[in-house]
Subunit: 209 residues, 2 copies
DNA sequence: CACAGTTATAACACTCAGTGCCATAAATGG
DNA sequence: CCATTTATGGCACTGAGTGTTATAACTGTG
């Protein structure tokens, strides 16, 4: 939603005014490289702008916050949780359906893994960069919440829906970060394993309170 | 850890140099009131400093980041998860022990609820304020992780420990925010109910993958 | 080609968060 | 009175983020 608008490359629409000089995604990649080399705090927006060949002001137009350079410019990692949830098998349990949806939505192509990994490692090193992912995660949580509420027949604003949503969301993001830190499996497999283990861990405890 | 150092009021230690003129907690309360009245973004550190009767520079000495005014100055809400975990009954399951620990650590006195509620609502309204709680939550997660790893006989850096820790942490914080948004129960009861429902929800699903 | 409409760019100036430096004030102990 | 310790506040600086505005580059039309 808040991400870049570089939707199609095979765009037949005959654009109107002055064309974009430097593609935003390119600026984000340059920024990512600079952050890796010198450290996030040691690279100013001015630096990124210069390296990308645009003015500071233009850079801010595409990336309103510096943190956005880390994630919002990620053409990869734009998951389709919505579609995956819509295609959930009706007979599966809610948790199983969520696992399947994540598995589908996180099925990145291998080339994209490395950029995503670097982004996640940056976020891990600079916790305040969580701001960069918050928007996307909030959107995902919204979808999760609606899905859970409907499947379980619960009120959208009930305690259980909120708690379940946040727990699942945190668990899957945790698994992604874990994967970024060196897991050899794919992101999809890491999240799938994480939710499976959560299920096992909670399911193994004494049934009710 | 990173919080204020106003440990004791009955402090017999004969302090040395120049005394503190304005107590930091007081400045934080004034700031909280201003944030409620005018909105977080519409109140500058300069404003808070003036209202609290100190210089901008001094304010920054006690609250290195503006967000710290929201949470770090909270003498209430300093939970003792560590102690509560240490007193966990050995025969209880891990999750049950965690629930009991939260119930104990979150047993605020009623007077403190209102300030905490206002802080949490501010954080909910301005997600970037999550920065303010992150430090404390990170410390708590560290304790949770060690506890879970030991009780379950797992490696501290295993996927399951990370995921379980993050899920439980997110769930309890979620319950706290839920409580702040109008739940009539106490924070301790909200978190307890949340973890119980999580247990039930996961326990009810098909056992393994 | 000239012209109007559209969109991107960059320069300028501004607010505010956050930091380093340092002179000075206010306490204590000898 | 003097040395030490600690808190204060002023000054200046960097960097993020924003509003404004003039201008450049493109498209389509007559």
């Amino acid at each position: 939603m808040t991400a870049t608008q570089a939707s199609e490359s095979s765009d037949a629409a005959p654009r109107r005014g002055r064309p974009v000089e430097v593609q935003p995604e390119q600026a984000a990649l340059i920024a990512l490289r600079l952050f890796d080399e010198r450290g996030y705090d040691e690279v100013s927006m001015e630096d990124v702008a210069r390296a990308a060949g645009m003015s500071r002001r233009s850079l801010f137009r595409y990336f309103p916050r510096k943190a956005d350079l880390v994630w919002s410019g990620a053409a990869e990692a734009q998951t389709d949780i919505r579609g995956a949830l819509a295609r959930a098998r009706p007979e599966a349990s809610t948790i199983d359906a969520l696992r399947a949806a994540y598995a589908t939505a996180l099925d990145f192509s291998e080339d994209q893994w490395e950029a995503t990994r670097r982004r996640l490692l940056l976020i891990q090193r600079h916790p305040s960069l969580y701001d960069a992912v918050r928007g996307q995660l909030d959107d995902q949580r919204e979808l999760l919440a609606s899905f859970i509420a409907e499947r379980e027949g619960l009120a959208r604003e009930s305690l259980l829906v909120h708690v379940l949503t946040d727990a699942v969301s945190a668990a899957s993001f945790s698994a992604l970060v874990w994967w970024a830190s060196g897991d050899e499996r794919s992101p999809a497999e890491a999240v799938n394993a994480a939710l499976a283990e959560l299920q096992k861990a909670f399911g193994a405890t004494s049934p009710i309170n």
